[in-house]
Symmetry: C2
Subunit: 343 residues, 2 copies
């Protein structure tokens, strides 16, 4: 399988508010380096770096003002004399959700965020932009028919980033940008399947009112798992998008035996939707030893996960999301891709 | 003037997410100690400590589940092995505002918050409860007719705390609890006047749909000042409360000459509403040297502020809110109270 990646991911490494204190993010550069090394060692196929794409491909999935915010936030934050990573401090909850965009950078940081886990520093924007370009380049290779499938080794990840908010280590939603790019290139119906442990709230929000991009997600029940406020089964889309959103919240401790039949359901919904291209938000934080998640998939299960996804018979772009146990994530990712190829 | 206070305020001292890092809160115990010392030195009048009040007086202004959350949050946070102050990490923004209450303490911390500036530790609840009791005891003294006015030296402050969220150093909304207590005791119409530099978003939210409690606030324009998402002039109440909310956002650099005529307008609205009792959310972070705010009131202006509030001719309870330049806040508070008494 073709793998797309970018060395620019390493420009971004930040801190997060966790356990009541500021810590280096669990989402750190070693993650992508390990995955790339394992892809290489496994001889999975060709490796390419990203092709630049027009900004238009980013604002097709996000608002113009949000992309502009990401581009300029660090400069505006440091212009006020601050040197730590930019982190928001106040959020537009409840009636505050109706408020206009604040002018002050401190207000904008909260306006364009849903948590305190998406720090912005000097390396963030170039890495975020490159990560989106990795996904776009992978999509190009598949949509053109050159490849049956491709793996976009994106970092930072993207699936928590909404139409105009960052959060959960995510800034631009690489999977949504890729899915939208497929639409722009003329693919009629697209599906995004999210198998990260955490609900892909950002992807859901971007396509929630649209019938042309189906979103399905298997994830830890938001009553007990991050992101807590999105991912319930009764979130099924709205307006013209009603019925084009399928959430499968699963209990802590879910293993492959419990997971696989639900994945079968999700794939059946995707087929019924008539999708012609599949984007997979690939997180391997469903792993039994993941340090921040609560499912129990084993390394061998990821081969089966890849096989099962292949059974949909669709041109497929895998987009890297989460997975935080550095030593094992590479192996588990390679197993998904190998399972897909060998199916 | 009678002053109510509680030594239990000192039990609470926390940290906050500010400038991208965790710092000790600007809202620290010395604030209340300094004010109390100045009130004593000025010979302002009798000093009393708080009388316990029923929990019912708290849940008359906040939701039952929120009060229960505050009572138990620290125990539940530490039960998960964490030792730093409990701070939220993810917020129910946008569509997330429709989500049910999460079961996990980490989700609940965000569900019941609007910023990362209301840390919870072992001393928080006893101090918060005492602070509300200080306000209730002051209200009792005025509503009974025993006193024409009283000063509730509350700490932690309260005006950012909404029906079920903490934020901005605030947990229980002492001013709203006092205003509601006046209603419970039979006062027909009540007004809350908020002269803190920051918009009293919590008080506004608690009474936003009610015609019986008028809320007026003079504050830094939320486009440029915390809390950023509330406090615009077009927020005028809703439903039966339409017209009973008046916001006066003012530009950075506002001095007494610009402030006083706006205060006159706010007091005219309060009179027109027919209020029989006035609760003043008294912040002195409007001071020219306040470290986190941007108005330019001077120490002598606070005498005039007190005089002008007295001109409403209403039984009045002053409830302490913000003000962060420790050396001067005591003097400025005493000037407001003395100005009121001498009017
Ligand atoms: Zn994840
Ligand atoms: Zn204030």
């Amino acid at each position: 399988m073709l793998t797309l990646h970018s060395p620019r991911h390493a420009l971004h490494h930040g801190t997060e508010l966790k356990d009541g204190t500021i810590k280096p993010s669990f989402e750190h550069p070693q993650r992508a380096d390990t995955i790339l090394a394992q892809v290489r060692a496994a001889g999975l196929g060709e490796l390419r770096t990203e092709q630049p794409h027009d900004r238009a491909a980013l604002v097709a999935a996000h608002s113009e003002r949000y992309v502009q915010f990401l581009e300029t936030a660090w400069a505006r934050w440091t212009a006020t004399g601050r040197q730590h990573d930019a982190l928001p401090l106040v959020w537009p909850v409840r009636e505050g959700g109706q408020a206009p965009e604040p002018e002050h950078i401190d207000g904008q940081l909260g306006f364009y965020a849903m948590d305190a886990g998406a720090p912005i520093n000097g390396g963030t924007w170039p890495a975020v932009q490159a990560s989106a370009h990795v996904a776009l380049t992978a999509l190009d290779a598949v949509a053109s028919g050159e490849q049956r499938a491709a793996f976009a080794l994106c970092r930072p990840p993207g699936h928590h980033a909404g139409p105009e908010y960052a959060g959960g280590y995510c800034y631009l939603n690489n999977a949504a940008i890729a899915a939208q790019h497929a639409r722009t290139l003329g693919v009629g119906r697209v599906a995004v399947l999210d198998v990260d442990f955490h609900h892909g709230n950002g992807t859901q929000a971007i396509f929630y009112r649209r019938p042309d991009v189906f979103f399905a997600s298997l994830h830890g029940d938001p009553l007990r798992s991050y992101p807590y406020f999105w991912g319930h089964a009764d979130e099924t889309g709205a307006g013209e998008g009603l019925g084009a959103n399928a959430n499968y919240p699963l209990p802590h401790g879910t293993d492959w035996a419990a997971y696989s039949p639900v994945l079968t359901q999700a794939l059946a919904r995707i087929r019924a939707h008539g999708a012609e291209l599949l984007v997979v938000s690939l997180g391997v934080d469903t792993f039994e030893h993941d340090p921040i998640s609560h499912f129990r998939l084993r390394t061998a299960d990821y081969l089966r996960l890849g096989q099962q996804i292949a059974s949909a018979g669709l041109p497929t772009v895998f987009v890297m999301e989460g997975g935080y146990l550095v030593d094992d994530i590479g192996r588990n990712v390679v197993n998904v891709l190998r399972g897909f190829e060998d199916a």
